[in-house]
């Protein structure tokens, strides 16, 4: 066969998405109705999904971030801009929050 296609969409998935996709893949392969070559691809995808889930599970953020009481004007302050830039991949929904300091 040709070179294996990577699964780039998996890298961006949330945990919930990955687990759902994984369940689907396992069921499809077990049903046994797909041709062999395709089941090889699906197997690869299943492995990638499992890796992604484990990756997210292994994270362990020690800090707790504080949410300050609301500022007066909702202007685009530097904190919000900083928050947007640090798009941390934590397996949750996408962009980051305002840069809060750690508490304990």
């Amino acid at each position: 066969m040709g070179k294996k296609k990577p699964n780039p969409d998996v890298e961006k998935m949330t945990f919930e998405q990955a687990i759902t996709a994984l369940t689907e893949v396992v069921e499809q392969i077990e049903a046994g109705r797909i041709p062999l070559a395709e089941s090889l691809d699906k197997y690869e995808r299943g492995m990638a999904l499992i890796r992604r889930c484990r990756e997210i599970l292994a994270q362990a953020e020690k800090r707790i971030e504080t949410i300050g009481a609301e500022e007066k004007a909702p202007a685009p302050d530097s904190e919000a801009a900083k928050g947007e830039a640090s798009d941390e991949d934590d397996g949750g929904s996408e962009p980051a929050e305002s840069a809060d300091e750690g508490l304990f």
């Binding site: 077990e30 492995m47 997210i56 504080t66 928050g83």
Partner: protein, 459 residues
């Protein structure tokens, strides 16, 4: 002043006398137990009502400023304790109790207020199941709204961290008792909702540790109930202990009996989820192995088939048939030539269609694909099969049409283009040509002379 029965008094004089008599004859401040009747609030905010028992009625007034401190809603028929002073209101001649404190008799004011609130909000539908949002299965960003002091925050954080450390936690400090606390908490819930496009919290936990009904009162207030109801982020309410139910608990999308319990409800157990992943891993490998076994068996069957065991045998019959038909063609050249020609062509095709080499190549490709994922033991089995393939290939080679080259025929190609040369006109004087002989020997030469044959009818 001496009593004078013969003198005529003015109304005002009598009123004043009554006032004085009241002042002298009654305690300056007293508490009256009675049933509320005719309770009315004027536009001014002041309340006018009467207190009754089975024999008598006493008029009562409560100014707006005093009413504000009353936590429950006074209703007709309610048994209350009203505290204040008695005075005569001269313009109407009414003796009234000026109430500055009102309490339900028996059960506490707070309890009554709580029950009234539950009834009202339930009737509005605020507690209905259809408003309750499902909690996210795997929350990764969790907000906690509670007091920074106290055990609640510690319990919640420890509970979550021990089960699901991959979640990020966000803390919004609020007062959880005292005046204005309910408003503060409600404001915090609304704020977090407003800011959620950036922060993307999956879940909120709102609560506090145990305390008296008074201590927990903020979580019974309407402003907080409405803020929780309006929240688009799912909320777990974790207030007090097992036995304490607050309005916040009823309105929230889920209720935890304690702060620690909130962690259990909010997040899954990492160990459990990890075990599920292990299981999925095992199932995938198992299923694939089964599929590959099946394919291997099919391949083995094909290799064992007649085409490979006895290629000559497979070809023998068609080959013989070709000879046969060729003979008949020669004899019946004049009759039905086209029909026989077609049948000959057909037989040729069927021989070609067996295409053992193509089948072999295909199977080999499949073999290569499968070899990539099988382990060592299986690979050695494949190797054996590969050897068999090679052996068969060699046998096929022996039947190669190129064998004819050994009989003296050769192939001539243009040295530069590699194009096969079949006619003299394909070359010029001095063109370099390569002659392919048997066993891949070749000779290179140049054209010195050529001759083109006379026209012929066939190819």
């Amino acid at each position: 002043m001496a009593r004078n029965t013969t003198r005529t008094y003015t109304v005002s004089e009598v009123s004043t006398l009554i006032k004085v008599a009241l002042e002298g004859g009654l305690p300056g401040r007293l508490t009256v137990a009675g049933q509320i009747s005719g309770f009315k609030r004027h536009a001014s905010g002041h309340a006018y009502f009467a207190l009754k028992d089975d024999k008598s009625v006493l008029a009562a007034v409560m100014w707006r400023s005093k009413l504000a401190a009353v936590r429950f809603a006074p209703e007709d028929g309610m048994a209350v304790l009203a505290t204040g002073y008695i005075d005569l209101y001269e313009p109407t001649g009414k003796v009234q109790l000026y109430v500055d404190r009102l309490e339900p008799a028996g059960v506490g004011a707070l309890q009554v207020a709580f029950e009234q609130m539950v009834k009202r909000l339930r009737a509005e539908g605020l507690f209905d199941d259809r408003h309750k949002k499902p909690l996210p299965r795997f929350p990764m960003r969790i907000g906690i709204v509670t007091s920074p002091s106290g055990a609640a925050i510690v319990d919640i954080v420890n509970s979550i961290r021990s089960r699901w450390p991959c979640a990020r936690l966000f803390f919004r400090a609020v007062p959880v008792q005292g005046p204005g606390a309910a408003e503060e908490i409600a404001h915090a819930v609304a704020q977090v909702n407003r800011e959620n496009a950036r922060r993307r919290l999956d879940l909120l936990i709102v609560g506090r540790g145990g305390g008296s009904l008074e201590d927990l009162w903020a979580f019974n207030e309407e402003v907080l109930a409405r803020a929780i109801h309006a929240s688009r982020i799912p909320i777990i309410s974790a207030v007090g202990h097992e036995v304490d139910i607050t309005i916040a608990d009823l309105v929230a999308d889920a209720r935890a009996s304690t702060p620690t319990q909130a962690g259990v409800i909010a997040v899954p157990d990492r160990a459990e989820v990890s075990a599920r992943l292990d299981q999925a891993d095992r199932r995938l490998r198992q299923d694939l192995r089964s599929r590959l076994d099946l394919s291997r068996q099919r391949l083995a069957t094909i290799l064992a088939g007649r085409v490979f065991r006895e290629p000559q045998g497979a070809l023998a019959v068609p080959a013989q048939r070709v000879d046969e038909l060729a003979m008949r063609l020669r004899h019946a050249a004049r009759q039905g030539l086209t029909r026989l020609e077609r049948r000959l062509a057909d037989a040729h095709q069927r021989v070609a269609a067996i295409e053992p080499r193509r089948v072999l190549a295909e199977q080999r490709t499949r073999l290569e694909a499968l070899a990539g994922v099988l382990d060592q033991r299986e690979r050695s089995v494949l190797n054996a099969n590969q050897l068999q393939c090679t052996a068969l290939e060699n046998r096929l080679q022996a039947m190669n049409p190129r064998a004819v080259l050994r009989r003296g025929y050769s192939l001539t190609r243009d040295a530069q283009s590699g194009r096969l040369i079949t006619r003299s006109r394909d070359v010029r004087q001095d063109t370099a040509i390569v002659t392919e002989l048997a066993d891949e020997d070749w000779i290179e030469s140049r054209v010195t002379a050529r001759k083109e044959a006379d026209d012929r009818a066939d190819r």
